[in-house]
């Protein structure tokens, strides 16, 4: 139950953050989507021993968090899913990979340690980048961007509807769970014999609702695609944002100036 309401508040909160009146929020969604994916790809493509390079990639989140006035605190919570996963995968590297790279005082740092740290930082950076996207861009706008990339309307409309109905169904699931808990106060989760009816009930209601929604959309003139209101085209500012970041990211990856740090 707490998970349900947690998810509910998370979605609500993200929606609120994403609709703030900030310059980053106003940058064209397509541009932000491209920059984000490009950034993640560059981060991931860095060698697993390139610790200094991966550190430099931290520049993107730093700039975006500070200039976009996105709350860093909120984003930390989102690391809770990924960090354990990445740790489990990375934690063994120091045991298998024991080549000493350099010494700091009396401690020798092995390549396994470096690759482990690199992997963890990669994990953090990629999550932060996705967070920056969603914290400054609503799902509607991302869907709009997807449409501009010629992703078929069926898929995009369906994603939009899924998103819209998540809050409704989370609330409904929450109410069912509450009703359940009110009459079974000493249970923690849903007991075995109620699995089917409880979820099934939610399912049937969802389907009825889906049909009603469809009818309701048809009743109001829906003919296959949503209208994306007041979406603008890319402006000079957007192109500048795009080009600037691509140049910087490529520079971190390839330029000799930064190679100095890598040697």
């Amino acid at each position: 139950m707490s998970k349900l309401s947690g998810a509910y508040y998370e979605i609500d909160h993200m929606n609120m953050v994403a609709t703030r009146d900030q310059w980053v929020n106003k940058i064209h969604p397509l541009v932000k989507l491209v920059v984000t994916v490009f950034y993640i790809a560059v981060v991931v493509s860095l060698s697993k021993y390139n610790l200094s390079g991966i550190l430099l990639m931290g520049a993107y989140p730093i700039v975006m968090f500070m200039l976009g006035e996105v709350s860093f605190k909120d984003s930390i919570r989102r690391l809770r899913i990924i960090l354990p996963l990445v740790c489990v995968v990375g934690i063994f590297n120091p045991f298998f990979d024991r080549q000493v790279v350099f010494n700091v005082g009396s401690i020798s740092v092995t390549s396994g340690v470096i690759s482990m740290v690199t992997l963890m930082i990669k994990g953090i950076l990629t999550v932060l980048a996705s967070y920056l996207l969603i914290a400054t861009t609503t799902i509607e706008k991302i869907c709009y961007a997807l449409r501009q990339l010629h992703i078929p309307a069926v898929l995009v409309t369906q994603i939009l509807l899924t998103y819209r109905y998540i809050s409704v169904l989370l609330k409904e699931a929450n109410t069912i769970m509450q009703a359940y808990l009110l009459r079974a106060p000493n249970q923690k989760g849903v007991q075995f014999k109620v699995w089917g009816p409880l979820v099934g009930q939610l399912l049937l209601r969802s389907i009825d609702r889906a049909n009603a929604v469809y009818e309701s959309m048809m009743l109001r003139g829906y003919r296959g695609e949503f209208h994306y209101s007041n979406m603008e085209h890319c402006s000079g500012k957007d192109y500048l944002f795009l080009v600037a970041w691509i140049v910087v990211l490529l520079a971190i990856k390839y330029l000799p100036v930064f190679m100095y740090f890598n040697s």
């Binding site: 697993k48 989102r78 509807l161 998103y163 409704v168």
Partner: protein, 332 residues
């Protein structure tokens, strides 16, 4: 179970994106929207349903722990493979954006691991053959459990393979897979049970909602407990064997890798995989420097380099701080 961005190399991500995109394109062609325009909103709401149902904790009898629903098998039984697959894409995309579960780059992998197997294999290998002649409670339960376990095993195996191909961890493949498979066996069983419970409810309440199920001759009695018992034994046998195979006979896995890559040694197999990956990357837009353990250029890191990077970051943060404070002063 969700792959994270940090665990996939761009080449692997790209490959899986391509594979998933093909499956999606094919599905869009096959859902026959013209015939049934209601499908889109139904898919949307069902996606949201899966999302909400995943947040419900199910207490597992006899243990203190709880399980969750995953959705692929459930959706495929209700919507058919194509619509279910498209629905799962939406769910996975939103999960990765809103909850950092998965990642944008790894989306292709996740769609493949969780949606493709669950929806397509779950339907064509399990649901359709089993429901072809008649549908009954027992068959639904069996199909749900077998479908969930099998597709989850495949998904988990894909995760191991993708991690291997990405060259992220030094953990031997056999160990990685050897832990993934048994864990997902348990998860699959629970998920199968939940899916079964829900589908049986639907079968009793509105049988016509099950996709392509033959519900004409419904009404036969049968014992839930008995079926469950038989199934449990079967699953334990299959699952136990599989896990044993995975964990105590790593050579077995090496053998299968060898068969796949046609190389005799796992390391060599790994290398050849990387080489292919590298050549794929060279032809794609992004040209990452892919370095493997032992290759000279790989250790492009020194203590001074790390310090230098930190200094740059601090300077960067400082500049941003100045910019944002002066901006605030101006607006104040």
């Amino acid at each position: 179970m969700h792959m994270a961005d940090a665990l996939v190399a761009p080449a692997v991500a790209g490959t899986m994106y391509a594979a998933s995109a093909i499956a999606a394109g094919y599905s869009i062609k096959k859902v026959h929207l013209e015939a049934d325009p209601k499908k889109v909103p139904v898919m949307g709401v069902m996606g949201a349903f899966v999302f909400a149902a995943q947040m419900i904790n199910f207490t597992i009898p006899g243990t203190g722990s709880s399980g969750h629903l995953c959705g692929g098998m459930l959706l495929t039984a209700l919507l058919g493979p194509y619509a279910a697959f498209l629905t799962m894409i939406g769910v996975l995309l939103i999960q990765c954006l809103m909850f950092a579960d998965g990642g944008l780059l790894a989306l292709g992998c996740n769609v493949w691991n969780m949606a493709f197997y669950g929806c397509f294999l779950g339907y064509f290998l399990v649901w359709r053959p089993m429901m072809k002649k008649t549908t009954s409670r027992g068959k639904i339960i069996a199909a749900s459990i077998i479908g969930s376990v099998v597709t989850l095993q495949l998904g988990a195996f894909s995760v191991s393979i993708e991690t291997l191909f990405s060259g992220i961890t030094d953990l031997p493949f056999s160990v990685f897979a050897g832990t993934m498979q048994p864990i997902h066996l348990a998860i699959g069983l629970v998920e199968g049970l939940i899916t079964a419970a829900v589908l049986v409810f639907v079968y009793e309440a509105r049988p016509e909602m099950l996709y392509r199920a033959n519900v004409a001759g419904k009404r036969e009695k049968f014992s839930f407990k008995k079926t469950l018992g038989v199934l449990a034994v079967v699953m334990l046998l299959i699952g136990g064997g599989l896990s044993l195979f995975a964990s105590s006979h790593p050579d077995g896995l090496e053998w299968s890798i060898e068969r796949i890559t046609g190389s005799t040694e796992l390391d060599a197999a790994k290398k050849s995989v990387y080489n292919t990956a590298e050549s794929v990357q060279e032809t794609t837009a992004l040209l990452p420097d892919y370095q493997f353990k032992g290759s000279e250029s790989g250790l492009g890191t020194s203590f001074s380099g790390i310090i230098g990077s930190c200094v740059v970051l601090v300077v960067c943060a400082g500049v941003c701080y100045i910019i944002s404070t002066t901006r605030k002063k101006k607006s104040a």
